[in-house]
């Protein structure tokens, strides 16, 4: 029997029991729909987490001075100055080949003011690679580069929050800004970054050139980098651990530490933290996908249940078909195609349902919508697979019926 005839028969048989077919399909629709929504939103959540960490800095290592203990009380990271400007120069000069960008980041909270408003914010003194490390651009004006920053000009790039607080709706570019009493000029407004992974407002910031910062807000250049950190961006994600080891070796050598001495600096690996966050996100989305898959299996069992009922109800029909020449294989195909159609139609509808669900979740949580064609195809194949797997047993039962008994079967 050719496939079109079989399909036609299957559609007709399902059409005869419309309500039952639709109810059975619902199981598949919800199963496929939730699987798709979970896969899609899992991907969205993962990307959202990745975005947050990308905002913190690309492949970022943060180096701080070590702790000093006085009289048994540890002073905490950075309490002892150990990082020197020469350490920075060594890294800048390429002594650690896996490092792409490096910048010192000095910061303090100070009062900033425009003509008729003032605000307390984080002011940072950095070198231009800072913007590369944070992959941060301006939405208006310019950033400062090495040339612009060379002589310690009194210029500032401000975050959106500061711009709003000081200038309200008017254009801050070219406007004067007083930082700790000193007049500066606003040359750029940074792109909005929103909250950090820790919940801080990343746009509440003023960035000025390092040299300016050292002259105006700090005590000038000494030997040590005091009250500051080094942001190091590693060339590739795979090399972060390696780079960490290389930097450790370099600094230990530069600081003349013996093998038995502890490090007098600390390196924080944000990528590691990001990775663990990503892993926990993944774990949760895998868990959700498993739950969704369970509901798909339940849907499949629904298909099997209905097909078994259908085989019993149609025992006589099976007998008639066998009497006029249907082979066991023909009978099996007929029922298998029926469950396949049931599952496939349910799969297509479930795909739509899943897409709507995924879209709703993405907009609710502010994720990007991920709905790759491969997911759709896999979902469709899975639906078909469910149809075959759960339809096989009823179909085989139908094909094994004895025509004589089946013909005498009273419904």
């Amino acid at each position: 029997m050719n496939i079109f005839t079989t399909l036609k028969l299957a559609f007709r048989a399902l059409w005869r029991n419309k309500v039952r077919s639709v109810l059975t399909m619902l199981g598949i629709i919800f199963g496929i729909g939730t699987v798709i929504a979970m896969i899609s939103s899992g991907q969205g959540a993962r990307e959202a987490v990745a975005d947050v960490f990308r905002a913190m800095g690309t492949n970022l290592l943060i180096i701080t001075s070590g702790s000093q203990s006085t009289g048994g009380a540890a002073g905490g990271a950075g309490s002892r100055y150990s990082l020197t400007w020469n350490d920075l120069a060594a890294i800048e000069n390429g002594e650690v080949p896996t490092v792409r960008w490096v910048t010192p980041v000095l910061s303090s909270r100070v009062q900033v003011a425009a003509e008729d408003a003032n605000w307390n914010t984080q002011v940072m003194g950095v070198k231009p690679p800072y913007f590369l490390i944070k992959s941060w651009g301006v939405k208006a004006g310019t950033l400062f580069d090495d040339d612009a920053a060379a002589n310690g000009p009194k210029i500032a790039v401000i975050g959106q929050t500061v711009a709003t607080q000081l200038y309200g709706g008017s254009n801050p570019l070219g406007q004067p800004i007083r930082i700790s009493g000193q007049p500066y000029e606003v040359v750029g407004v940074l792109e909005t970054k929103g909250q950090s992974a820790m919940g801080q407002d990343q746009d509440d910031i003023v960035v000025i050139p390092l040299k300016t910062y050292l002259q105006k807000l700090d005590k000038g250049v000494g030997k040590y980098i005091s009250r500051g950190q080094l942001y190091v961006s590693v060339a590739s994600e795979d090399e972060i651990t390696h780079a960490e080891a290389q930097i450790t070796a370099l600094l230990r050598e530069r600081h003349n530490l013996q093998a038995t001495d502890d490090d007098d600096f600390r390196i924080r690996n944000l990528a590691e933290f990001a990775l663990s966050q990503q892993k926990s996100t993944e774990r949760i989305s895998t868990l959700l996908a498993i739950v969704a898959a369970m509901s798909l299996i339940v849907g499949g069992i629904g298909v099997m249940n209905i097909m078994l009922v259908s085989v019993i109800e149609r025992t006589r029909e099976i007998g008639i078909r066998m009497a006029v020449g249907a082979k066991p294989y023909d009978v099996m195909t007929q029922f298998l195609v029926e469950s396949l159609v049931l599952a496939a139609v349910g799969g297509v509808l479930g795909l739509g349902f899943g897409a709507v669900l995924a879209k709703y979740m993405a907009s609710y949580y502010g994720w990007k919508l991920f709905f790759p064609a491969t997911t759709a195809m896999i979902a469709f194949a899975v639906a078909g697979g469910v149809g075959v797997v759960f339809g096989l047993y009823p179909a085989i039962r139908a094909s094994r019926l004895d025509p004589i008994t089946a013909l005498r079967y009273e419904t």
Partner: protein
């Protein structure tokens, strides 16, 4: 001379029912030539249903040989047996056994589907068969919209459609009134005249009277095998009208 259409030798059929061994057929020899009309008679339990099932390739003998059109069908697989049924045998049952909520035409097309015949050809042949049994204008009626006699005609058309050389009719008039049963028997007799072998399975002597040869089974054995001049059903149809 060519081989007989049906040649059964030493057919035995035993069933296990619970702890009992039921010997439904205990060694039957039967030869049927092409184009005969034959009635198999017997009380219930005589083995005539088993006989029909084996002859119709719905069942297989426990022992013995069965040559159908010269081919041994006693040891075929279920699939091969289904194929033989489709090509060689058309069934007409007491309870019609049509697919409900399906048109007369589609019921007739069904056997052809399993022989892999194209839709257009199926349609044409099914229409022909329905016209042969006098159901012009009823092709698209669903079977539950037809009278008993009309339903049995659809069943006969379905048996005819595959050009099977044998039609097995199991109590074909059992659910019909007298006048309608004359009509149905007239159609079956008409088929014999076109060279089709019609096997009637019945316990009613009235129905057996339409056959040229009557075989009587008792306790799984043939106890009588006689030739007779059959009653012509169409004469009764005319007399009744």
């Amino acid at each position: 001379m060519t081989a007989p259409l049906i040649e059964m030798r030493g057919i035995e059929r035993t069933y296990v029912m619970g702890d009992n061994l039921v010997r439904a057929l205990r060694g039957v020899d039967l030869v049927i030539e092409k184009g005969s009309s034959i009635a198999i008679m017997g009380a219930s339990g005589s083995g005539k249903s088993t006989m029909m099932n084996i002859m119709g390739c719905l069942d297989q003998p426990t022992r013995g040989s069965y040559l159908l059109n010269g081919k041994d069908v006693a040891r075929l697989s279920r699939s091969e047996l289904a194929d033989v049924r489709g090509r060689m045998i058309g069934f007409v049952f007491q309870s019609f056994n049509l697919l409900s909520r399906t048109s007369a035409l589609e019921n007739c097309e069904m056997p052809l589907m399993y022989q892999g015949i194209s839709g257009r050809e199926r349609h044409k042949r099914a229409l022909d068969a329905l016209h042969r049994v006098g159901l012009e204008g009823r092709e698209h009626h669903h079977t539950n919209q037809l009278s008993g006699g009309q339903q049995q005609r659809v069943a006969i058309a379905r048996a005819l459609v595959g050009s099977a050389p044998i039609i097995m009719a199991d109590e074909p008039t059992g659910n019909l009134d007298t006048a309608t049963s004359y009509e149905v028997m007239a159609i079956l007799q008409g088929l014999v005249d076109t060279g089709i072998t019609v096997v009637l399975v019945t316990h009613e002597p009235d129905i057996a009277a339409y056959a040229r040869r009557v075989i009587t089974l008792r306790d799984g054995l043939i106890v009588d095998d006689k030739q007779q001049e059959p009653v012509r059903a169409h004469e009764r149809v005319e007399a009744a009208s």
